[in-house]
């Protein structure tokens, strides 16, 4: 083929892209899985039992609930401050003189480029000094963690919301404002009746953006929050002082919420873009196709998100309530059993050495599997195989087909599956596998 090099390159790029997406989602996925594993240390494998107990642990954590509540109120506060500030900033940009505009823009955009810790520190110091100047008491606003955090976060979040408004305002037809004025509206009326309705989708998406940005902020908050706590500072403390799967559980909730928020944001943005297209059509004098925008809650994307959300929560709850205790007991029992088997196996080996021909067929198998597992270099395997073999020996040692069933099964499976394979050799499972074979 002539294009071989080209093909190889294309294949390589595709491989790279797939790898990138695995890199992107793998960690989140692994973390989410650990939240449902009953293992006391957050891990994906070995997966012991499906459980939602870590969510219950979370729900009983008062500090978390408090941090969550604080984060929520701070988020609302930031929305209430950053949305008007961003709006004013964007409107002002259209008003300042050409000469001043680059300077103005540089100043209002700079908080995005300043490290979050710097913003937090400067906010803290500044209001402290202001408080001292006015001789305010330590209980006053200037030393209040909520107030400082809202101010500190809004410093840069306002720049985010401003960017949202700027991009929306670029599509605003100024003659609309003039038309309203010309028809006798006052400036305030024009603002309220013409500009605000036009900006409504941008206001909504800016609010969502501001809330999310506030909710997940850590760098600024950690300095300004003082003695209070937010979700992120609580989380940081918890993660630093040792990890357990309840953090994963919290992560799952936050991932779900942010998924929801991100999708909501996306939907709002799409609707805004659609509305903008509509406006362009109107300006161009074309006939629009759609009658009216569908109500927000009836947007297919929104419905889909809500459904997935509900289905996920529901199934997690159902799955979590069924059979956790039994499974845990079983895992515990298996662990104990495994230890015992290991001891037994050791004893059995010792026996083999002493009496090589106890049972020829079974004996050969035993050696084979023992060799295999030794080659694989995973010590746990030994116990698995020996468990099965021991059972065979004990129960149906004579029946060749039955004895082979678990053997083939374990050969086909990748060695990586370690303890999970216990279940195959579970007496009940063994029967299930064996019976169809026997029927044949």
């Amino acid at each position: 083929m002539i294009l071989t090099a080209d093909r190889v390159r294309k294949f390589f790029v595709l491989f790279f892209v797939i790898g990138f997406f695995i890199y992107l989602f793998g960690p989140l996925l692994i973390m989410s899985v650990t939240a449902f594993n009953s293992s006391a240390f957050p891990r994906m494998a070995p997966f012991e039992c499906f459980t939602v107990e870590w969510f219950q642990v979370l729900a009983n954590d008062d500090k978390l609930v408090e941090g969550l509540r604080n984060s929520f109120f701070i988020g609302i506060g930031v929305v209430l401050l950053a949305v008007p500030l961003g709006l004013a900033g964007a409107l002002m940009l259209t008003q300042v003189k050409e000469r001043v505009r680059p300077w103005y823009y540089t100043i209002v955009i700079s908080p995005i480029l300043v490290p979050g810790v710097v913003l937090g520190i400067s906010t803290l110091l500044f209001w402290d000094r202001i408080g001292t100047m006015f001789g305010a008491s330590r209980e006053s606003l200037f030393y209040d963690g909520f107030f400082l955090t809202i101010i500190g976060q809004a410093t840069f979040i306002s720049a985010y919301t401003m960017l949202v408004f700027i991009s929306r305002l670029q599509r605003f037809d100024l003659s609309q404002e003039e038309a309203a004025l010309d028809l006798g509206a006052t400036h305030v009326q024009t603002f309220r009746k013409i500009l605000l309705p036009f900006l409504k989708p941008a206001i909504m998406s800016a609010a969502v953006l501001a809330f999310l940005a506030s909710f997940e902020n850590y760098n600024t908050t950690v300095f300004t929050i003082i003695s209070e706590s937010t979700l992120t500072t609580f989380l940081a403390g918890k993660v630093r002082h040792g990890i357990n799967p309840s953090i994963s559980a919290l992560a799952v909730i936050i991932v779900l919420i942010t998924l929801f928020g991100a999708a909501l944001h996306e939907v709002l943005k799409r609707r805004e873009a659609a509305a903008a297209k509509e406006t362009i059509r109107i300006v161009k004098g074309e006939q629009a196709h759609r009658k009216r925008a569908t109500p927000f809650m009836l947007d297919p994307a929104v419905i889909l998100i809500l459904l997935v959300f509900a289905a996920g929560l529901g199934s997690a709850y159902l799955a979590g309530t069924v059979g956790v205790t039994e499974c845990k007991a079983q895992v515990k029992a298996e662990k104990i059993q495994r230890t015992q088997e290991r001891i037994k196996q050791r004893e059995a080996r010792a026996m083999f050495r002493n009496a090589p021909a106890a049972s020829e067929a079974a004996g050969q198998q035993q050696i084979q599997s023992a060799d295999k597992s030794e080659r694989a270099g995973v010590s746990q395997f030994q116990s698995i195989f020996s468990t099965g073999n021991l059972q065979e020996q004990a129960g149906t040692g004579d029946d060749q087909s039955e004895a082979e069933a678990p053997e083939t099964e374990s050969e086909e499976s990748p060695p990586a599956g370690t303890e999970n394979f216990n279940s195959i050799f579970d007496p009940q499972n063994l029967n299930k596998q064996v019976n169809p074979d026997a029927a044949q």
């Binding site: 003659s175 003039e178 028809l183 006798g184 309705p197 109107i282 004098g285």
Partner: protein, 368 residues
């Protein structure tokens, strides 16, 4: 109620650029008045000065005899119809129409009633609940007019409102606009670069070029008695001969051109536009004023070679080469069922009379 509009020595400057200079116009109340000119001539600037979106750098704008200085657009008795209409896309038709009442605090019932009245006037009854986006171009046009009329202005300002429409709709809307103006009886000030619109609808037309008002008159005068080379070349089609004045009479002038001496109307005026013997001059004659001379007597007679003939149904357009000019001249004759009667390349004599010919001093010509 209606009001007159007066521009008193209005100048409008943007930095060094002069958008309008020395504008002196008196628009009588109840009149349909048009500003006609190519884009960029300053007509929209003057309109914005009347509507209050910008202040003249110098001079006064008076509406109903009242000086408008310092009065914002929302306080003036004017309503403007924007070039792109600027209908509010997030409002229904009736909300659009009654916006002016809404901002004055009128109740919903009153607004509804007014909306019905106006929808009746613009022949869109029962369409009030629609969104603007559901209307056709012509319907939007009428909604924009209704919205402006709802403000009960003394003066309605229209900034090329028909330019977005297709030809047929445009011609229909002309008639309709004129009818609406006669019904409501208020002053209309209309901005256009389309001379057809200006001539058909207006009581008076002001022709503008590069910030200067060249001539203010009724359509007939503008067409037949242009007062500047720009007006003559911008309004309608005109054949141009260039030459030197050899004789000036009380109401005529004779101009020597490469095609011969041409006798043309030249009204004695005071001040600008006066020709004297020896001056360079333009001679304009309309295509429909040219005739195949045959044996008949004409004030002017030139010879030309037929270059091309175009058949347009109701008209024949015949193009000629004339000596001393690389530009062709054009003759329009009504199609009376016969052919032009001459062949391509044939040399013919063309005749035209002095009262249909205009001599004007050199000046800026409209771009073709």
């Amino acid at each position: 109620m209606s009001a007159d509009v007066q521009l008193d020595d209005v100048w409008i400057r943007f930095g060094d650029f002069v958008a309008a200079r020395e504008a002196n116009i008196h628009i009588k109340e109840g009149e349909f008045f048009s500003f006609l000119g190519p884009s960029g001539c300053g007509k929209t600037t003057l309109l914005r000065a009347v509507s209050g979106f910008l202040d003249p750098s110098q001079g006064r704008v008076l509406i109903g005899g009242k000086d408008m200085a310092g009065i914002g657009p929302n306080k003036r008795p004017t309503a403007l119809i924007f070039q792109n209409l600027a209908l509010f896309p997030l409002m229904t038709v009736w909300e659009n129409i009654t916006f002016a009442l809404e901002v004055k605090g009128a109740g919903k019932a009153a607004r509804r009633k007014k909306a019905e009245e106006l929808l009746e006037l613009i022949a869109l009854p029962g369409q009030g609940e629609k969104m603007v986006s559901e209307l056709s171009g012509g319907q939007r046009q009428r909604v924009a007019i209704a919205r402006a009329l709802a403000a009960e202005p003394d003066v309605l300002l229209l900034d090329e409102p028909l330019s977005a429409l297709d030809l047929k709709l445009r011609q229909h809307m002309r008639t309709e606009l004129r009818a609406i103006q006669q019904r409501v009886g208020i002053t209309f000030i209309y901005i256009t670069h389309d001379q057809g619109e200006a001539l058909t609808m207006s009581d008076h037309v002001a022709v503008m070029s590069q910030g200067v008002i060249e001539q203010v008159a009724d359509g007939n005068t503008i067409y037949n008695r242009p007062e500047s080379a720009f007006v003559a070349s911008f309004v309608g089609e005109n054949n141009l001969f260039t030459g030197t004045v050899s004789e000036v009479g009380r109401d005529y002038a004779v101009v020597d051109t490469p095609s011969g001496s041409l006798r043309a109307r030249h009204a004695q005026r005071d001040g600008k536009g006066q020709l004297a013997v020896g001056d360079g001059a333009f001679v304009f004659v309309r295509p429909e004023s040219l005739q195949f001379a045959e044996e008949r007597a004409f004030d002017n007679r030139i010879s030309a070679h037929i270059h091309q003939q175009e058949f347009e149904g109701n008209f024949w357009q015949v193009f000629f080469n004339v000596p001393g000019s690389d530009k062709q001249i054009k003759l329009s004759m009504i199609n009376d069922g016969r052919s032009v009667g001459h062949d391509l390349g044939e040399e013919v004599a063309l005749g035209f009379n002095a009262d249909l010919t205009v001599a004007l001093p050199h000046g800026e010509l409209a771009a073709e």
